[in-house]
């Protein structure tokens, strides 16, 4: 896997920059944490990386995976895995349908289904393939959402506070699962969070987005 690199990235609203130009790189298998008060633009930064920035926010700067510049690619060609705060499983598909949606192309129908079943079993959800996602617990949904992202074989993992909607027990388990998978697959991972424990568990670099105007504000 190749590192995820940001080069002089700036997001602005109405011409005002949300933070100082940001340059850093996330090495494969490491988790970089992105901290900052709400409104500091940390979620928008993930949206920019994925190419789903709302039109009200403008951006400049380069994003690269290895030597490949992602800036011009449409979202679906960037192959960055994004996990939101909510699992956002497609409600009209069953668990297997959600995972098959994520699973990268190729393989016979039976082959694909086998891979989905294996993935489910690997996170302790064997036999859940035909379930309605709405009947799953929060922790179970979070695990399915992670599998859906991983099966798409992303080149990096972007986490937008994906543990914050879980209760304490589940939070720890899901967090460990996500970080273990990121490590095992050598994915460069960028984590947006409020939670100090997340940062400790991530164990990588920490970037604080306080913004250029942070001092003047309060």
């Amino acid at each position: 896997m190749k590192p995820l690199q940001l080069d002089k990235v700036v997001l602005s609203v109405d011409g005002a920059a949300l933070f100082e130009p940001l340059s850093f790189s996330v090495l494969p298998g490491t988790v970089t944490s992105l901290l900052g008060p709400s409104g500091s633009g940390k979620s928008s930064l993930l949206a920019y990386l994925c190419g789903i920035l709302p039109p009200a926010i403008t951006a400049s700067g380069a994003i690269r995976i290895g030597d490949e510049n992602l800036g011009r690619l449409p979202t679906e060609k960037r192959r960055l895995g994004l996990l939101f705060q909510d699992p956002l499983l497609f409600p009209h598909l069953d668990v297997a349908g959600n995972l098959l949606f994520g699973l990268s192309r190729g393989g016979s129908r039976a082959e694909r289904r086998r891979r989905v079943d294996e993935a489910l079993a690997s996170v302790g959800l064997g036999g859940f393939a035909d379930r309605d996602p709405a009947t799953l617990s929060g922790g179970q949904q979070a695990r399915v959402a992670l599998l859906r992202v991983l099966l798409a074989e992303p080149r990096a993992l972007l986490l937008d506070e994906p543990f914050s909607s879980l209760d304490d027990d589940n939070r720890e388990r899901v967090r460990k699962l996500v970080f273990d998978e990121a490590h095992r697959r050598e994915l460069p991972t960028l984590l947006v969070t409020h939670d100090e424990q997340d940062v400790v568990a991530a164990g990588g670099a920490v970037i604080n987005l306080s913004g250029p105007n942070a001092d003047k504000k309060e």
Binding site: P74, E76, R78, L82, F84, F90, D94, F101
Partner: protein, 547 residues
């Protein structure tokens, strides 16, 4: 706007013919000689007055009933039940309701048979004017039955825009009774949201023929029925009179709408001063009972009207006090079946085409303004235009234009005229449903590698399926019910259930009318039942799919 072509196309499809039709009506209808002939017609003043009277009174009663019903249902927790009671009546075309009520209320009707001879002593139908009465009371009853349901639905849709539960609770904690809380804290906000539907109700009330033909007064008839007779007259001189008359109808309608706006401002003032008095009306159980009873009565009348249609359509001879027809069942059906099959086929074909083309126009436009509530409202207002003008006025103009272009009486022309009336409903249902879908689903799909077209087909469309099916049923039902558009754009070549029912009712043949009215009543019910059933079946194991 120009960067969103689907929106431009949608609005153009509706607004261009409507505005062109109005302009043509003004151009060809302005004829001093024809005007003086219209005004010289005996009883024309009374006729116009009767239109305005029936339309206005029915609108006021429907509005009050709808507000009270929604307030009671929402605060009493039986909102879904009110929905379920309203929908079947809403789905019934006006013509079918009119014919059904005529069959129910007539001196020899089902109601009198229910009461005779044991209660009334009548062995023969009494010589009373219970329908087509000069005060237009039966017409008003028919309008109230339909328009209350329409306004209930409009209010329910508006509820989403208003924090009704919190406002109501706030007023109730201050000691106001549930009804007064609703009427003072929530209703005024809802009222703002339903101004367009309310204006449409008033315009329809004044200018409709669908209820006025079977139920309206006879001598003179309401002004719209008078015009309708002139339009269907063979004498071209009478036609020019009808053209001029539609402008008079437009004028009368516009004046009434303006007056109504003034009155509603006045009503708001009265309501406000009644709040400032501080009376709590904290025990309003009696009022609640009265309202519930009225709703049940309305609903029962609606159901009995359908029963009356069914009975009349299958009966041959039907001696007066007998509740059920004797023998000779279905003979009427045997008489009409050969042509009824054809009529049904044309009706269904038109309605299906209207629903599908309408959906194809509305879906891309809804997609293009999913993030833009203001554009959604503007588009909605434009699409509402055909419902805010008397149908006859602009349809007559449309007809003139169609004849000039030599496409009157074609399927496309009739389909287009039906779209004008289906699009506002399709938009009202689908635009908010599309906007309500969480945009992150599509972002998830994109980050998983799905290009926009695939994301739309595999994620957005399924999430929209339930609303889409309902919208199809709604557009289908709207088309089934349309009479004047088929008549004007179809050059008399398209025999649908509505045109046949109206023609039969107009010539006083309620027995023949009942057969077509049955078709009119049944087709929308089938469509809605199908939409609900298929929506529930598709997602029977998916609790999270939006309704």
């Amino acid at each position: 706007m120009l960067r969103r072509p689907a929106i431009v196309i949608l609005v153009a499809v509706s607004a261009v013919p409507t505005i062109a039709g109005l302009a043509a009506a003004l151009w060809f209808g302005l004829d001093a000689g024809a005007f003086s002939r219209v005004l010289g017609t005996p009883g024309v003043g009374l006729s116009i007055a009767s239109s305005i009277w029936s339309g206005s009174i029915a609108t006021v009663i429907s509005l009050m009933l709808a507000h009270l019903a929604v307030g009671l249902a929402v605060s009493g927790g039986w909102r879904t039940r009110l929905n379920a009671l309203t929908l079947p009546l809403l789905a019934m075309p006006h013509l079918a309701v009119g014919i059904g009520l005529a069959l129910l209320l007539a001196p020899s009707g089902v109601l009198m048979r229910l009461l005779s001879p044991w209660a009334t002593g009548f062995e023969l139908p009494p010589d009373w004017l219970t329908v087509q009465d000069p005060a237009a009371l039966s017409l008003i009853a028919g309008l109230v039955l339909k328009e209350t349901c329409f306004l209930i639905m409009a209010l329910m849709a508006a509820l989403a825009q208003v924090p009704s539960a919190r406002l109501q609770l706030q007023a109730q904690t201050l000691g106001y009774g549930p009804l007064k809380s609703w009427l003072t804290a929530v209703a005024p906000l809802l009222q703002q949201q339903i101004r367009l539907p309310l204006a449409a109700v008033l315009v329809f009330g004044i200018s409709n023929v669908e209820l006025a033909i079977p139920l309206g007064p006879g001598l003179p008839p309401t002004f719209s029925v008078l015009l309708w007779r002139w339009f269907t007259d063979a004498n071209p001189l009478i036609h020019s009179q009808a053209y001029a008359g539609t402008l008079l109808l437009l004028l009368a309608t516009a004046a009434t709408v303006v007056a109504a706006m003034t009155v509603s401002n006045l009503a708001r003032y009265v309501l406000r001063s009644s709040v400032q008095g501080g009376r709590r009306h904290s025990d309003d159980r009696f009022a609640q009972g009265v309202i519930k009873a009225t709703l049940i009565l309305l609903w029962t009348v609606g159901v009995l009207a359908i029963v009356a249609i069914v009975l009349r359509s299958v009966s041959g001879a039907w001696r007066f006090p007998a509740l059920l027809p004797a023998g000779d069942w279905l003979s009427r059906w045997n008489d009409v079946l050969p042509t009824a099959g054809n009529t049904a086929a044309i009706t269904v074909a038109l309605a299906t085409a209207t629903a599908l083309v309408g959906l194809a126009l509305v879906l891309p436009a809804a997609e293009q303004c999913r993030h833009d509530a203001r554009t959604r409202a503007t588009v909605g207002a434009w699409l509402f235009l055909p419902l805010l003008v008397p149908q006859m006025t602009f349809l007559f103009g449309v007809q003139v234009l169609l004849v000039r272009m030599n496409i009157d009486g074609t399927f496309v022309a009739v389909l287009w005229s039906h779209l004008l009336f289906a699009l506002p409903y399709l938009w009202g249902l689908l635009a908010p449903a599309r906007a309500a879908i969480d945009p992150r689903y599509r972002q998830v799909a994109a980050t998983l590698g799905a290009p926009p077209s695939r994301a739309w087909l595999t994620v957005t469309l399924p999430l929209l399926a339930r609303s889409g099916l309902l919208a199809l049923a709604l557009a289908f039902s709207v088309s089934i019910a349309l009479y004047l558009p088929t008549l004007f754009a179809g050059a008399g070549r398209f025999a649908t259930a509505a045109t046949e029912a109206a023609a039969a009712a107009g010539s006083g043949n309620l027995r023949l009318a009942s057969v077509h009215a049955l078709l009119l009543a049944v087709l929308p019910l089938i469509a809605f039942a199908g939409a609900y059933a298929s929506g529930s079946w598709l997602f029977r194991h998916r609790q999270g799919v939006p309704r």
